[in-house]
């Protein structure tokens, strides 16, 4: 049994919030400054010569395709919006998934500690 730490600790909520804010900032703002060079796989495919066998995915007509929100003229805004929307979709799906799989667990093994 560990005793309560004597130093004030950062709440779980604070950690989660920090991760969320950081993610949204990265996806919404910093992403604009990301390198536009081809990634490692694309570069290898190009230099070896099989890049042209790539076909467009069926999702190519999605309103967020290629990380740009359709209908928004400004590149920075279009990209940032796509990043934020994508992040929130991932967050919603992931939380839903993990909450659901957690609920299927049977009786609790032990009383849970307050977070």
């Amino acid at each position: 049994m560990s005793t309560a730490p004597t130093t004030p600790r950062v709440s779980t909520r604070a950690v989660l919030l920090a991760l969320l804010v950081l993610s949204l900032l990265l996806a919404g703002v910093v992403s604009f400054y990301a390198s536009s060079q081809p990634d490692g796989l694309e570069k290898v495919a190009t230099s070896i010569g099989f890049i042209d066998t790539a076909t467009d995915s069926m999702a190519a007509n999605s309103p967020l395709a290629d990380y740009q929100l359709q209908g928004v003229d400004d590149d920075r805004l279009a990209g940032g919006a796509a990043g934020i929307i994508g992040s929130l979709v991932v967050l919603t799906l992931a939380l839903g998934l993990f909450r659901m799989s957690g609920r299927r667990r049977g009786r609790a093994a032990a009383p849970s500690r307050t977070g």
Partner: protein, 238 residues
């Protein structure tokens, strides 16, 4: 390292889809043993963070960029089975909504990044953790090492897949050296980012970090440093 449609033959795409489905099915069951009430939301945030960070391509060589894969990072933070699920959700959203990575190639990408990337990263992390001193400060270092190896491992697996089932015929040695060479560089970026994130969370809430649970915190000493007190003590909840 998102594989587009068309690179691998249709049977190969189907086979990797089967591998991915099996892997995700097992992960769905086993991830329940890794998560508790505090870490379930953390898993959601880890997936979100990986999605966001994968948008940030960084230059690694002339005309080449890389981005975080995130498998090792997720495994160290929330456990390897949960990590597979995190990466799968990210890849799903990327493929379906952002047209990043092919749809028929989704199984391939889940296999490469969600299974190989996660499990090689986690295995190397565990090995490094065993070798390093049993202190909290070793956890981010071990995580960085796992992250570093995971990227060329996934890239190497793609090279093997392509040499066997690719749309064009390429000698294995050619594509293997090209993929592994490039992705060793990307692995350096992966290692740095992983180290920094794991470091930050271990510093404030090591109890939330799955990979740190073998290092027990003693009650805070007057100097405020964490003291290694016991190893491998089992707790029925995390």
């Amino acid at each position: 390292m998102h594989v587009p449609d068309g690179f691998l033959s249709a049977p190969a795409s189907a086979a990797t889809a089967a591998v991915a489905i099996a892997g995700v099915a097992i992960a769905l069951r086993r991830s329940r043993d890794e998560l508790d009430e505090r870490t379930t939301p953390l898993a959601g945030l880890v997936a979100t963070f990986i999605f966001a960070t994968q948008m940030l391509n960084f230059p690694v060589a002339a005309g080449t960029s890389g981005h975080l894969l995130g498998g090792a990072l997720a495994a160290v933070l929330v456990g390897p089975w949960t990590a597979t699920l995190c990466i799968t959700v990210v890849l799903l959203v990327q493929a379906l909504i952002l047209a990043d990575g092919g749809l028929t190639a989704l199984g391939t990408n889940i296999t490469l990044m969600g299974i190989i990337g996660v499990w090689v990263g986690y295995a190397v992390f565990c090995a490094a953790r065993r070798v390093l001193p049993a202190r909290l400060s070793s956890i981010p270092v071990a995580a960085g090492i796992g992250a570093f190896v995971s990227v060329p491992a996934a890239a190497g697996m793609f090279a093997l897949m392509y040499a066997a089932f690719g749309a064009t015929s390429v000698p294995l040695a050619t594509i293997l050296t090209a993929m592994v060479g490039t992705h060793v560089l990307i692995g350096i970026g992966e290692a740095i980012i992983t180290f920094l994130i794991v470091s930050s969370i271990v510093a404030v809430r090591a109890d939330l970090v799955y990979g740190a649970r073998t290092v027990r915190l003693a009650p805070a000493s007057p100097s405020g440093s964490a003291i290694y007190s016991s190893a491998q003590t089992d707790r029925s909840t995390r």
